[in-house]
Amino acid sequence: MKNIKLSTVRYQLRQSGFAILALISLGFSISAKAQQTEGMVTYEYKYYWTKVNSRLTFLSKEEKDRMKLTWGNEEDGPGTKMKLTFNDKQSIYTYFSDQGQTEDGRYSWRQSDYLIHRNFEQEKLIENHEMLGKTYLLEDSLMTYNWRIQNQIKDVAGYVCMKAETFDPIKNHKITAWFAQDIPVPAGPERYFGLPGLILELDINDGDVIVAAQKVELKNVDKELALPKMKGKKIKNNDYDQMLKKHIFDSIKAQRNPYWSIRY
């Protein structure tokens, strides 16, 4: 694994009035706020379960087609709103609201505990996962991802983002991230981070899950970055990975869907 020395990343304010002038003259709307390195992003997390279930190796082609034809059109509904609070030193990613709700709000449900904390300065992480019938508190040092930078750009929530890819060997997922060139913070949604810019869109395994930014607010978030009290069985990166690996393996072997009880 290559070393990404995050501490060596320098975030500088763009002061060149000339450059800004040039940009404005080109018609680009990049305001001065783009230089900020703290704020909050609201994401929409969409889980395409017929796609996920199509990955289940024990289902026949017929069963997969049946599922897609029956339910494939039902997946246009809104996803779960998530929020990422960040500055250049740390980030917290969790649910936007404290409960799950139907669109009209008449029915609500509990959301499994889920909070991802990254501390880039101390290279530490804290994660709270309710999964597999238990609540876990993962505390360890930051892992590294081998990001491959791609020659593709697109706009996400008003920011031009560049594409990067990596691979999750535990869940066997292809990960595609789109990071903002204008927000020089290595934070991102779910468990992903470590790019030269803030990740505004995440595509897990070719569209099985899409986490896309809907709103980016650059503001002071020192208050919001305070960690809430979290309880759970203490666990380390390695055990966490092993546990997931075992669960996926056992479930597939027993011909059960491993994915609904873990974060995909």
């Binding site: 500088q12 339910w71 709000g105 609540t135 491959r148 930078i149 706009d155």
Partner: protein, 954 residues
């Protein structure tokens, strides 16, 4: 100080070392645009050249300068990105100097319009491959059915003139290729005007060499503007189908050959789903399986849950898909194999079409099914009186035919984010006829035959029914959670029936066997009935406080029934039709129903509670007369008002544990037939009388449940309990004439019948992934009240069911799923304790699958049922074993040949026994038993070779 000194001493050595082979480098440079303006805050990334892995990154300062220190020697690529510019790339070449200075690196701007339109407006990803910029055509919205030409008009820098000529970046496009290949010859318009826009994923515009230079290999310096269209990978479109045909021999000599044919075909793309299905057999498979149903209906399989227009709680009367059972009615397509009794010949087929977009969901389908069933049955029944009992023995032979044409149409439209409506129509045309020949014998306590009836009945039914509902839903922009819904329905049923009843009744006098009283009956009934109903409901939801909702509803319904029954006697006057006024009747009823109710709902973090109260008024205005041309009518005018409370609780606990509870009250109105003060003696031994004083039945239900599942250990627990109490239950009061054994029944209201019960289930793995077990226990206690000859009889039934299942999946080649169920029910009668009895039903079942080499498989399925009733000396054992061996054919595993033997032991008998109120009954029906069949299946999507799992949702 000392350290400094040391450093100073060492410095020359170190620099020498570095000068020779530096292993840490500093890469530096300056970024600027093409007019040499420095680009500050550009992202500078150091990537591994082989796979673009990110090694290090930094940002340029305001002068556009950057430096990366401490870089190890390697094979790198430097990449610089800056908003609005084409990302810059350069290989890093390490020399022998510690500092690698790249000088000024110039970034090219992305064309303004490309950036604004493609990136900013269409939000399409832009890919940069050297000179070529490609973008995702899917991001440019064009109406469905548009061609590529329409799409190109939308793209920045592209114009299409009236003749279809394409001008890109100011130059005429000479060539249009699809996936890099020429499409339809040399005319570029051929591709753009013929290809649908939604088949394209990417559009690339670039300069290509001329054909001339390609052929000659000599670059003539000229370049042609080329548009390349990339087709969607696996453009969501396809078709699949399945066909099974089988032929076999019946193991029971004269029963004739067995056969089945079943097929379906589907064609779909991302908006349209079209399917056909057809089946015919004489193997008692009356309809489609659930899988077939889902394949047939596609996206419309389960949409009816949303189509209930009867808002409000409890007994709203939703529509459900019929699961199993006979096709006795209903507008929904029947699913399941029927009850498998007797012998049946079946034909079914249909077509279905779905159209789905984000805003519109349309479904139309037609389905026909018919069944001709032969049922030869032997029935025993014992009725209890205050003192003693009498027995009935019946031998009957019945042939039923039923045919249904069903049409359904559904349209759901989301007008905008606030308005939506759903229209549904379900219609059925049903024809049916039955022929029944039956001999019933009645025995007294001492097994003395007291009566005998021979029945020859025939019926013909011709029925049309239709149900139409329009639902409108409105949300409010300002107040999230406030909503309004309105529905209107019109239902209509027309039913014409002819019933011919012939019977001969012999009454043996108890004292003198030769003194036989004969009663002949030969009647024909013509019944015409028309029922129409108009319904409407309103629902209003107001979030009146944080986490609280106030829900109010109104249900209104008007129903009108017209029934005309003309009965003729054919026996009196040697076959001439003589009207029988005492049996002929005419009635016209109208029902007005109104309900208004309100409830408060609390919802927060998975705790959902709702409690409410409704009041309903039910009014019957009927007129009724006997005779075929009645002059005067009896009027029935009744009005009932009932209060209905309702409460429900759902609690979503941590770690996959759920709790729920509910209390509801359902009200059922007395049927008009029960209210009419008429005597129905169509069955001379059971005479029915109406009761105009009946009150509605009110049923109170309480339930409670809990379930949990541990996904890590695969353990689950399910518990639920229910209690119900009946107020004014409609029960048939029975008066049995001790000499003739003629029973006169009359409905009366009785309060006090109740049921209480529970289900407890527990599942756990014995060895994870290899063996798992499920245990369930299901006790139930019921109390039923029936007046018999003026005395109130109380029937108590205590039943205990215990079941267990064992799944063994030791390998991919061998699996066993076994189950056992034991059920005991004790019935006690208060007026005749001597008749108390115990009914025992046990069943043992198992499925075994074996995968053999060369794609051979064996599947065996045993179902062993044991029925016992000691009081009657009844002990029936029915082991049914089905077994088959099959081979999957071909490399693609798309075909299968299968040899099956059904009911290997030839023991299939339709057996049932039942004890209730004041009688016990048993029934045995001659049913399709052993047969063998050789069948062939072709499945375009491949056969399923998985032997581990047995259905279920994922």
């Amino acid at each position: 100080m000392r350290k400094l000194l040391l450093l100073a001493l060492l410095w020359p050595c170190m620099s020498v070392l570095y000068a020779q082979t530096p292993n840490r480098f500093q890469i530096q440079g300056i970024t600027a645009d093409t007019s040499s303006t420095p680009l500050g805050s550009a992202t500078v990334m150091l990537l591994q050249r082989k796979d673009s892995s990110l090694v290090n990154f930094t940002r340029t300062n305001d002068k556009g300068a950057f430096a990366m220190r401490n870089v190890k020697r390697g094979d790198y690529l430097l990449k610089i990105s800056y908003v609005g510019y084409i990302p810059f790339q350069q290989d890093i070449i390490f020399g022998d100097k510690e500092i690698v200075d790249l000088g000024t690196l110039k970034l090219k701007a992305i064309t303004k319009e490309l950036f604004e339109v493609v990136v900013k407006t269409a939000r399409a990803p832009l890919s940069i491959k050297g000179d070529t910029i490609e973008y995702n055509a899917a991001s440019f919205k064009v109406p469905p059915g548009s061609t590529v030409e329409d799409l190109l008009r939308k793209l920045p820098g592209v114009q299409v003139d009236q003749n279809g000529n394409i001008i890109a970046q100011g130059q005429q496009v000479q060539k249009v290729t699809v996936d890099g290949k020429r499409f339809f010859g040399s005319d570029p318009k051929m591709a753009t005007q013929n290809l649908p826009a939604d088949a394209i994923t990417k559009v690339q515009i670039f300069n290509d060499k001329t054909e001339q230079s390609k052929v000659t290999g000599v670059d003539d310096g000229k370049q042609e503007k080329t548009v390349n269209l990339e087709l969607k990978e696996g453009f969501k479109k396809g078709g699949f189908g399945k066909l099974t045909a089988g032929l076999g021999a019946d193991g029971n000599g004269n029963a004739g050959p067995r056969g089945e044919i079943k097929g379906n075909y589907n064609k779909f793309d991302d908006k349209n789903q079209f399917s056909v299905i057809g089946l015919t057999n004489n193997t008692n498979q009356t309809g489609m399986s659930w899988d077939d149903y889902q394949d047939f209906r596609g996206s419309s399989s389960f949409n009816s849950w949303n189509d209930n227009g009867d808002f409000g709680f409890g007994g709203g009367g939703g529509r459900f898909i019929i699961i199993g059972g006979d096709d006795d009615g209903g507008l929904s397509i029947p699913v399941g194999g029927g009850n498998g009794r007797g012998y049946s010949n079946n034909i079914a087929g249909g077509i279905n079409y779905n159209y789905n977009t984000k805003k519109i969901k349309t479904n139309a389908s037609y389905y026909y099914n018919s069944t001709r069933q032969v049922v030869d049955a032997v029935r025993n029944r014992e009725n209890f009186l205050q003192n003693g009992s009498f027995k009935t023995e019946e031998e009957s032979s019945q042939i039923n035919f039923v045919g249904n044409h069903r049409l359904s149409f559904r349209h759901e439209q989301t007008v905008d984010s606030l308005n939506a409506f759903i229209f549904t129509n379900n219609s059925r045309y049903n024809v049916g006829d039955t022929r029944l020949n039956s001999l019933q014998e009645f025995f007294r306590n001492n097994n003395f035959k007291s009566n005998e009836t021979t029945i020859n009945n025939a019926t013909n039914v011709d029925k049309i029914e239709t149900a139409n509902t329009l639902i409108y839903r409105l949300k409010f922009k300002k107040n999230k959670g406030r909503s309004f819904a309105a529905s209107a329905s019109y239902n209509f049923t027309n039913n014409d029936g002819i019933a011919d009843q012939k019977s001969l009744n012999l009454f043996y006098n108890a004292t003198d066997p030769t003194d036989v009283m004969r009663r002949m009956l030969d009647l024909t009934n013509n019944t015409g009935s028309r029922v129409s109903q108009i319904k409407s409901s309103l629902l209003f939801v107001e979030p009146f406080a944080k986490r609280f909702f106030w829900e109010s509803f109104v249900n209104l319904s008007y129903r009108s029934d017209n029934v005309d029954r003309d009965v003729f006697d054919l026996a009196k006057d040697s076959g001439r039709r003589v009207p029988v006024d005492s049996l002929s009747s005419f009635y016209k009823n109208s029902y007005n129903y109104a309900r208004i109710g309100s409830s408060v709902r609390y919802s927060y973090k998975g705790l959902n509670f709702s409690g409410g109260l409704a009041v309903q008024s039910f009014q019957i205005d009927g007129k009724f007369a006997l005779g075929q041309n009645p002059a005067s009518f009896i009027n029935i005018n009744r009005r009932f008002t009932t209060w209905i409370p309702n409460a429900s609780l759902n609690y979503d606990l941590k770690n996959n544990r759920y709790l729920w509870s509910g209390y509801d009250v359902s009200v059922s109105q007395p049927s008009t037939r029960d209210l009419q003060p008429v005597i129905d003696n169509s069955n001379p031994l059971i005479i029915r009388q109406g009761n105009p004083d009946l009150l509605p039945t009110v049923n109170h239900n309480i339930n409670f449940g809990y379930n949990m599942f541990n996904p890590a250990s695969f353990m689950n627990v399910n518990v639920n309990m229910y209690y119900s109490y009946n107020v004014n239950q409609v029960v048939y009061n029975q008066q049995v004439d001790p000499t003739t054994l003629i029973t006169v029944t009359k409905p009366v209201n009785i309060t006090g019948g109740q049921n209480i019960g529970s289900y407890i289930g527990f599942g756990f793995p014995i060895k994870k992934t290899k063996a798992s077990m499920n245990i369930n226990f299901n006790p139930g206690f019921s109390k039923n009240l029936t007046p018999i000859n003026g005395v109130l009889n109380q029937t108590n039934t205590d039943s205990y069911r215990f079941g267990t299942r064992l799944d063994l999946t030791p390998s991919d080649n061998f699996t066993i799923f076994a189950n056992a169920n034991w059920s005991v029910s004790n019935t006690r009668y208060s007026i005749n304790t001597g008749q108390n009895q115990q009914i025992v039903n046990h069943s043992y079942g198992g499925t075994m699958n074996i995968r053999l080499p060369k794609d051979f498989f064996i599947n065996s399925n045993l179902n062993y049922q044991i029925y016992k009733n000691e009081r009657f000396g009844f002990n029936q054992q029915v082991p049914i074993l089905n077994t088959s061996i099959y081979k999957i054919l071909g490399k693609a595993k798309k075909a299968e040949i299968r040899l099956s033997i059904y009911d290997v032991f030839n023991r299939n008998l339709g057996v049932s026994q039942f004890a209730n109120q004041n009688y016990v009954s048993q029934e045995r029906i001659q049913t399709l038993a052993r047969y063998g069949m050789l069948s062939f299946t072709y499945n375009m999507r491949g056969m399923n070779t998985n032997i581990k799992r047995r259905g279920g949702f994922f």
